[in-house]
């Protein structure tokens, strides 16, 4: 934490404000999630504890990453933060199925209807098309590391915060669109989502390897730092990519299992 305090006073002040906004927003979201779970439990609906743990762990990871990493530290630290904010935390949050919970906890009425209308709206429909979400997510990373954006964001707290927010929300969108654990208006086939994951993973790996050879323009990291950061991006991306694939595969296995059981039950009822 201490390196953050080395910054000149104005930067530190605005950084402190941004940090407190993140912490406050996270606390509000966490409280809302817990309230929804309590509401479900009160009417004797079940909600797995694992989802609550996963969701809060995801939020915790975001806070930890935002608070723990100095604005212009080594590349490796920056990369660790990005992996956490853009990939690890989104997966944990999406595994908590916040949308399913919200739709179940909200009483029928204006708010719930509005939410459903929003989810069924055309812009949201486009955003959760898996390839679109992938381009927003990984395309954003290419822009960040292959233009001056990264160097610019190093000493501008607001721009830096905007980049971080994009990384988080694009990561959430991509994970949401690929996993489709929450109800979505239009379901995409497993093959389409798997192919999207493949393309995004490949683009991520290529970017990581290219960073090994050429630093983002306008930056002066040491070669060792750059190499370690690039490898962290490559192998860290692998870990989360496999976790996403396992999520997808497990979901397929469970849903096909359910339809098999249904068919077996139907066959058992019918006389042979």
């Amino acid at each position: 934490m201490t390196p953050a305090h080395v910054h000149p006073a104005p930067a530190a002040a605005s950084l402190g404000l941004l940090e407190s906004v993140v912490v406050a927003a996270t606390l509000v979201v966490a409280a809302a999630y817990v309230l929804c779970v309590v509401r479900l439990r009160r009417r004797r609906d079940s909600w797995p504890c694992a989802r609550l743990i996963s969701f809060t762990a995801g939020l915790g990871a975001v806070v930890w990453a935002v608070l723990g990493v100095p604005l212009s530290g080594p590349f490796t630290a920056h990369m660790a933060q990005h992996l956490l904010v853009g990939m690890g935390a989104p997966l944990l949050i999406v595994l908590g199925r916040p949308l399913t919970l919200l739709l179940r906890a909200l009483p029928p009425g204006r708010v719930r209807r509005g939410l459903v209308r929003l989810l069924h709206s055309t812009p949201v429909g486009w955003l959760v098309v898996p390839p679109v979400a992938a381009v927003l997510d990984v395309g954003g990373l290419w822009l960040l590391y292959r233009t001056d954006l990264f160097a610019e964001s190093q000493d501008r707290p607001l721009l830096h915060a905007a980049v971080d927010a994009h990384v988080l929300f694009a990561g959430l969108l991509f994970t949401f669109a690929v996993c489709q654990l929450d109800p979505v208006h239009r379901r995409w086939r497993y093959a389409a989502r798997g192919t999207t994951l493949l393309a995004a993973g490949a683009a991520h790996a290529v970017l990581a390897k290219s960073l090994y050879a050429a630093a983002p323009p306008g930056t002066a990291f040491t070669a060792t730092d750059l190499h370690a950061g690039a490898q962290l991006m490559y192998y860290g991306g692998d870990v989360v990519g496999v976790a996403l694939a396992v999520t997808l595969a497990a979901r397929w296995y469970i849903t096909t299992g359910r339809s098999l059981t249904r068919r077996a039950k139907a066959a058992a009822v019918l006389p042979r």
Binding site: G194, L197, L198, G201, A202, A203, H204, A205, V206, K209, S210, Y212, A213, H227, A230, Q231, Y234, D238, G241, V242, A245, V246, A249, A250, W252, Y253, I254, T256, G257, R258, L260, T261, R263, A264, K265, A267, A268
Partner: protein
């Protein structure tokens, strides 16, 4: 999967030899790719994270192949579990598929990647001819084992169904 235990999910499912071959071939290819990566990068260190000779096409194919290998491993195993759950796995065909996949990947890597596209080589700074021969012959042997196993599995399942 507690739900599938009380009701037998098998509804007149028959062994699916073709699907068994394909699923196990996916696993075989992915395992071979993983073994290559572990042996040549980690153990022998003949390859490095970033080779100076790596061009843009090389980077792209490497990223694609590396990601595909990971996803194929996950997909292959869950499809295999599904075959077993439905009792549709034909083990003999599965074994044949594994060898076909492993050898097929080896040959593809050896001929298309190494020789035709010249994306990367097995080893740098030495004459690669003996390495190429060893690589491709090993792949060919694996494919031949796979073909032999497939022929035998097919013959057996035929006599099994008629007899």
């Amino acid at each position: 999967m507690v739900g599938s235990e009380d009701v037998d999910p098998v509804v007149a499912e028959r062994a699916q030899p073709r699907r068994s071959i394909v699923v196990c071939a996916v696993i075989g290819a992915a395992v071979m790719a993983a073994v290559d990566e572990i042996v040549f990068h980690q153990l022998l260190a003949w390859h490095h994270f970033y080779d100076r000779s790596t061009g843009e096409v090389g980077l792209l194919s490497d990223g694609l192949l590396h990601t595909a290998e990971l996803l194929a491993l996950v997909a292959g195993f869950v499809l295999y579990a599904d075959l077993r759950r439905r009792r549709a796995l034909s083990p003999a065909h599965g074994r044949a598929g594994f060898f076909l996949g492993a050898g097929g990947f080896q040959l593809f890597d050896g001929i298309v990647d190494h020789k035709l596209l010249r994306l990367h080589q097995i080893r740098y700074g030495v004459d690669v001819t003996p390495y190429d021969w060893a690589w491709n012959l090993a792949g060919l042997v694996l494919v031949l084992i796979g073909i032999a196993l497939a022929v035998r599995a097919r013959r057996r399942s035929r006599t099994g169904s008629t007899g």
